[in-house]
């Protein structure tokens, strides 16, 4: 996969504060890259540097193997769709007028406003003023405005911030539908790790202005060798199963309400499962859970 945008040794200082420090990161064409980290870790600053809103104190930004100059940014921005974290828009404009405005500003086609409203599930609000929109509707409109110039590169800063689980699910469904129709490159920042782990191709973890780790989830999992969590539902408490687990190298073994849990290493997985299956008559159910991105994230931290 070819790299579309490359940040080379980027740093950004605000006075004595180092907001971003020596970050090198490639964004590959067509991928969905998650940028995760706690609040204040430098995610938004890094996104603004990617958009050319904030100038790096040092480092280079390379687009398709071409180092961006001041003049190139305007051209590059024609391909960018940006969704800031929180936008309330103009209360007295309708959904259609809002998208028409940003289409004109960004060089898109105002005629596509209604089609875009349909795409983001706001077809019933074409002539409704934004002042009466819910938070979820405003976020969908925010995604709509990011798409008004038919971008190739979409930058989403905490796109589901403040949304309830239903709104969050709907948002990602819309984003997924949009990506099905067009091969968009997406950079998505979030501090809600569990929310994006099944949606992203790669993840870059930020901590105190630096990238702590970057790669696919599998790469991060195997690189960190985090233990998997074994869940066993047993008919009656069987201390022999617990003993077996201990003997085979499982750790953190707990029993509560007919449920036995233990941590096992990836390397021991097959061997331990085979040993447990020899006592399958005393088991009701068994499941093995991968560490989620949150565990990877905190593992790194």
């Amino acid at each position: 996969m070819s790299s579309m945008l490359e940040l080379c040794d980027i740093s950004k200082n605000f006075g004595d504060i180092k907001a971003v420090e020596a970050v090198s990161l490639k964004v590959n064409e067509g991928e969905m890259l998650g940028l995760v980290g706690p609040n204040g870790s430098g995610k938004s600053t890094l996104l603004k540097i990617m958009l050319g809103i904030s100038k790096p104190s040092s480092g280079r930004i390379v687009l398709n193997n071409w180092e961006l100059t001041e003049k190139d940014w305007r051209q590059f921005r024609k391909q960018i769709g940006y969704m800031p974290e929180r936008v309330s828009f103009y209360d007295n404009l309708t959904g259609r007028e809002t998208l028409e405005l940003f289409a004109r500003v960004k060089g898109g086609s105002p005629a596509n406003a209604i089609e875009l409203l349909k795409k983001v599930g706001l077809e019933n609000t074409v002539d409704r003023k934004v002042g009466g929109f819910s938070k979820g509707m405003r976020q969908r409109l925010n995604l709509g405005q990011a798409l008004t110039n038919d971008p190739d590169f979409l930058v989403l800063d905490e796109p589901t911030s403040g949304l309830d689980p239903v709104g969050t699910k709907e948002f990602y469904k819309i984003l997924s539908d949009v990506r099905e129709r067009k091969n968009l490159t997406v950079v998505l920042s979030s501090h809600i790790l569990a929310e994006i782990e099944d949606k992203i191709d790669r993840v870059a973890v930020m901590k105190a202005g630096s990238i702590s780790a970057v790669g696919s989830l599998e790469e991060l999992y195997s690189g960190l060798n985090l233990p998997m969590r074994l869940h066993i539902l047993i008919k009656d408490r069987d201390t022999e199963v617990e003993e077996l687990l201990r003997r085979e190298g499982a750790t953190d073994i707990n029993y509560k309400d007919s449920r036995l849990t233990a941590s096992i290493s990836r390397a021991d997985k097959v061997r331990i499962l085979s040993a447990i299956m020899e006592r399958k008559e005393s088991l009701d159910d068994i499941s093995l859970r991968e560490p989620n991105l949150e565990e990877v994230f905190f593992g790194i931290h």
Binding site: K48, I53, K55, Q75, F89, N92, F102, R104, G107
Partner: protein, 276 residues
Amino acid sequence: MVFTDAMRAIARKELSDKLKSRWVLVIAAGFALFTLVISYFGGATSGVAGFRSMDATIASLTSLVTYFIPILALTLGGGIIADERDKGTLEIYLAAPVSVAELIAGKFIGLAIALILSTLAGLGVSGIVLLTETGMSAVSSYLIFMLNSTILGIIFLSVSFVVSILITERARVIAFMVFLWLFFTILYDLGLIGVLIITKGAIGEEIFSGLLMLNPVDVYRILNFLSIGELKVFLGLAAVELPAYMKMPVLWTISLLWVVLPLIMSYHFFKRRYLA
């Protein structure tokens, strides 16, 4: 710089806001009402109520406009950037293929048109009534008064953009706008009079007239009194003469500088503040 699609869209949005919210209509009606009241009762202190000569009316209206238009224009543009920042839309503009000059010019043009429409409509309606009552002979003086009043509004709109970029907290913006209004309409001239008194008039006419040019409200007053030939009414207190070269075209050029320079400052301050 050409009038780009982005600039046109931003300008249209600003103008449409003011038209939809009936701002233009209310301000125009207010202008018309105040000017007619001032025109009719302007001579009431001498015991006579009624429409007087157009020159006397313009002198009275000049006083009204020097207070009314600056505060109107300052509040119109004062929150323009803070509003965008609070709404989160400023970042969308910054990430769009639109230059800072286009953004500022678009907003300025939209608001300037709203201000021009309301000023011309308000003063135009009262002008028709006044000219009907006082005769058409002074129509050119009144048209120049309308033009000068419009320029004064645009000057303060331009100044408000600088404030809007430098100060982002709404409460502080309002406080600073009130201070600017007081400074230009009252305090500056009080200060000049104070300087004249302290120096016992030793300050030269060149310097004094130069200092007057540093206040757009004074430039506006001089322009109006020059057009009706009543400059002594304005300058009598100072007992000084304006230099001969200080004619209306020069004053209009100075007014134009008062529009352009704050906009150039806005451009640079914006880049330093939001694109650093």
